[in-house]
Chain length 241, copies 2
Amino acid sequence: MATKLEAFARLSTDDRVALERVTQNTRYIDARRDLISEGDKPRYVHLVLDGWAARYKSLPDGKRQIVSLFVPGDFCDVNVYILKYMDHSIGAITRLKVALISPDEMSVLTEGRPRITQALWWHELVTIAIQREWTLNLGQRSAYERLGHLLVELYLRLRTVGRARDGRCDFPLTQNDLADATGLTAVHVNRILQELRRDNLIELERKQLHVLDLERLMDVSMFNLNYLHLDHEGRHLDANE
Amino acid sequence: MATKLEAFARLSTDDRVALERVTQNTRYIDARRDLISEGDKPRYVHLVLDGWAARYKSLPDGKRQIVSLFVPGDFCDVNVYILKYMDHSIGAITRLKVALISPDEMSVLTEGRPRITQALWWHELVTIAIQREWTLNLGQRSAYERLGHLLVELYLRLRTVGRARDGRCDFPLTQNDLADATGLTAVHVNRILQELRRDNLIELERKQLHVLDLERLMDVSMFNLNYLHLDHEGRHLDANE
DNA sequence: CGTCTGGTTGATACGACTCAAATTTGGTGG
DNA sequence: CCACCAAATTTGAGTCGTATCAACCAGACG
């Protein structure tokens, strides 16, 4: 498991080798530390190899919103280095293993490799689509639907990179994190999670999520999976076969 | 005024001619009609030449969220044609004049024109940054702050493309639109707008917005303009001078 | 062990929603 | 130019979802 790109594109052996090479420069970040902070000058593309991270924005009154989450295989902003400064921070939820990729390395990686280029594009577009879905989530869904939706999304995303099966996956977010991601308070998140459990939709303890009835959970949270764009030709295929 | 790109990049005469050529294929859309609908196959990049549009998502229970707004000069999804289907719709707020640009024309436009390529990238990244800011807006700001923030953002965006000055601009959104964009009800939007007027922050009638005290409005809505990334070298410069 | 972080519970408050109706505005056709 | 109609705005009363504040509990850790 190097990246999520494989879930999308039919990569050739050469593509894989190139990817491999470019992810050699790795770094570890402790849980709850920032990978990069608002105001910093972006210098690398990050690829999450292991662990979870959150992109968040803070307000002068101390409020904080997690605007997106990164799970293993996710790239952080393939082209941010075009911008002068970060308008948000990225913090590690768990201890994190990331690859640092310089702009130059990105060019080398994509130059003459249309499959990788396409796959990176797809990744970017899906990331944006997720951001839009979160906007919908915060604007229109109730607390119950909102949390249900988030759990489904994360479960599915983890599943596409082989980090979830049979309804189970690691789930390192605290109720506080969930509150920051859903625009609710931690107290309310706690109560809604209890409802979800009471309704036999999920189990969640010790950082382990068990989705008991995915279909029903998707239903009650009005989950429409079109926004994840998993319908691509390349899924589970291989350019060499 | 062809595009917003000029506000960012120092374009050469050749760049401008190329842009001009690629925006010849125009089309008009009536107000309140869809430019493209969820489920459609995206075939063109759209460039809004005149009028306003909204990107929105709907839920099975009938709720609707405007997830972003387009004003003159905005591109709709420079690379969506990579995805199979639209996961949202784009509807015209006013009568709309748009340019249709095919993927091929986009390649021709960017091929060998690094300034345009860079500028398009910048536009995409700012669009995404705005989407993140909306997530923050919906998740953490009060109704009063939320509306104030949206008004400031639109005013500033219009100003960078020369469609606003002295605090004044066209503002074709109905209170219903504002409700769909802010995740509030139209009734509540109405009441909050009255508060904003009472506080001498804005005037708003007959589709005309007048921001009476931009600085204070930015203050009360905790507006941090870093996310619009207006700090680029190219602003108001010209590659030929 | 004490301390800390994360989770749980209870009581109360308030911001935003709902529903319903009145009023104003803007467009259309006679 | 006026009469009419639909759309948009405004107002009021009552309700509800979520926030707030304050404890308390459990497990992890040094």
